[in-house]
Symmetry: C2
Subunit: 349 residues, 2 copies
């Protein structure tokens, strides 16, 4: 069994861990019959849970860990005090080559800090970024960074563009992804210096992506581009703003159907269609914050998700592992620096 089919799970991370994690792994087991799991956490609890899922038990190994990283622990504290935690040992497992990816529904900051320290970054990557998929009018897109880097320079944004496009190519199967830089206007003169410089570099480079130029906030949900690139501050706020707006809308919609006997009847008539709409926006479908740029595969699941959502996070890790995501990033980054060297050479002549 190749390690590209072994996934380390931080079984103690998440609101309903370890039950949710083990049930999620059991859902993923059916979808990915070649996948094997290494479950890190309280051995007694995990063994007991596995007795409920005998088929999962056949492809899962329990690895005992003593402690758990707290949901509100600072990353620096988790790094110092969490060396024997389920999260850390699962990441160590990837570093040691026993697994090729890790999924955790635990503390995001700690997971990113540990992944960076233990796995380090891919050759050429300055800073890893968090990416996530989201529904759009046209289908699905990916956005990064969602909060790993509060301040970014032009080169960080260019690398995010490359990593986001590599994700769209390898995992989503988009042959030549369109990439947009999130800005306050689409004209070239708009925005701050770093974003303009990033646009200049992307425009001049020869990469396996179509640089669309600047996109605005409304372009996110419209699906104007396959990959939306921004700094971690803006990306985090944009993503949560979109989630909040969608929640408000569905809250009001539910209240609307409760307004009268007629609207209640209307709801029952339209129920199958409305449930299809609900499934379309189901946050569990998009559950997975991919840590792009670390030397290994690391995916963060929402802490409050259920088994189905967790299985989807496992699916993202599986796809990145088996579709050669990291190899794409390495070769595209080399292409960029090669192109930059050529440009410098041409300029010097």
């Amino acid at each position: 069994m190749s390690s590209s089919h072994v996934l380390a799970l931080d079984a103690m991370g998440g609101d309903n861990a370890p039950d949710m994690v083990v049930s999620g792994a059991n859902v993923a087991r059916v979808r990915y019959p070649n996948l094997q799991f290494r479950l890190f956490g309280n051995a007694e609890k995990l063994e007991k849970l596995l007795r409920r899922f005998p088929k999962l038990a056949q492809v899962a190994t329990v690895v005992a860990s003593d402690t758990v990283v707290g949901a509100s622990d600072k990353p620096s504290v988790a790094l110092r005090q969490g060396r024997r935690s389920s999260m850390r040992l699962a990441i160590d497992d990837v570093q040691e080559g026993k697994a090729s990816g890790i999924v955790s529904a635990g503390n995001t900051g700690a997971l990113m800090a540990m992944s960076k320290i233990v796995l380090r970054t891919l050759p050429g990557v300055h800073r890893p970024a968090i990416a996530s998929m989201f529904p759009t009018t046209r289908g699905e897109s990916v956005m990064l960074d969602l909060g790993a880097n509060i301040e970014c320079d032009a080169n960080n944004l260019v690398q995010f563009a490359i990593m986001g496009a590599a994700f769209a190519r390898s995992v989503q199967g988009v042959r030549r992804p369109t990439v947009g830089l999130l800005n306050v206007g689409s004209e070239e003169s708009k925005g701050h210096e770093e974003i303009k410089r990033a646009a200049d570099i992307l425009r001049a480079s020869e990469l396996p992506l179509d640089f669309h130029g600047f996109v605005e906030g409304n372009d996110i949900a419209e699906g104007t581009v396959d990959v939306v690139v921004t700094d971690g501050f803006t990306g985090n706020i944009a993503l949560k703003t979109a989630e909040g707006t969608a929640n408000m809308y569905s809250t009001f919609l539910r209240a609307t159907f409760r307004r009268s006997v007629f609207s209640k009847l209307g709801y029952w008539m339209a129920k199958p269609a409305l449930l299809a709409l609900k499934r379309r926006f189901d946050p569990r479908r998009y559950n997975g914050g991919m840590f792009l740029g670390v030397n290994g595969i690391a995916v963060k699941s929402h802490g409050g998700t259920d088994a189905l959502g967790y299985a989807n996070a496992i699916g993202f890790a599986f796809d990145m592992m088996t579709q050669g995501f990291n190899e794409h990033v390495i070769s595209d980054l080399a292409r960029l620096s090669g192109g930059a060297a050529d440009a410098a050479k041409a300029a010097a002549q």
Copy 2:
């Protein structure tokens, strides 16, 4: 007639100007019987339009202007070449005291540049900001800056907080508005330096507002605070992201009801309730970008709105004019600098 009841309208700004502007003024005339209008633009066209609205003609004066600021003109070009434009002459009117506010559905950048140059800022204000109201789960809130200032320091953010709270108090009638700084987390350690310093200043100050601390993107639609404060880059992207998400949701909802005979029937049963929902989110209700901090009242209407939306933008200007918005800002800013002086004195002892 006091000038606080005279409004200058850039009758040539907007997609369907001047028809939309004159029709909008006619809607506002009914709502605000004391309001008088000075319409800037093509005199022939405006006189002709006013013949359709004899009651509006009684409270409106046409002021001829030669040119129109183009929708895509750069602010610097508009400033140099637009001295005889409807937009500029309307702003000059406010500066000369003939009107106490201006509404325009024209070029936002040009309107802000001209307002700053001609009207200047209120005493103590470093930089004006663009604010807008938006619907939330709990009611309505106001957010600023929405794009006037791409980069902001801590003092800018503090002033935006004061201006936003003064708007909520004077125009929305919120006795003691809650104010939140938009950030990537609610813990004090989150975010960049400027936002942390702004929080420190607001926490230490004695102002007629309740400083809530940091809020996140999802808090915008949840209505966690009355006033959301952020820099113009983030605010512009957050606002457009929310608009885009709401549009996507209603696009899918429309498609959902068209799925089957049953869902179509369901739509007809629930139609009154669904129309109430639609009205709740009607962008025309929130049409008005208030330029807070300029020495005068300036409100930007969406270019693509209709008479009803334009009348709402006029309503915001009217409320700011008559509810003493600018006086609130001046006295609150004085209070802040007084408080800061006291704090410095205390520290020196």
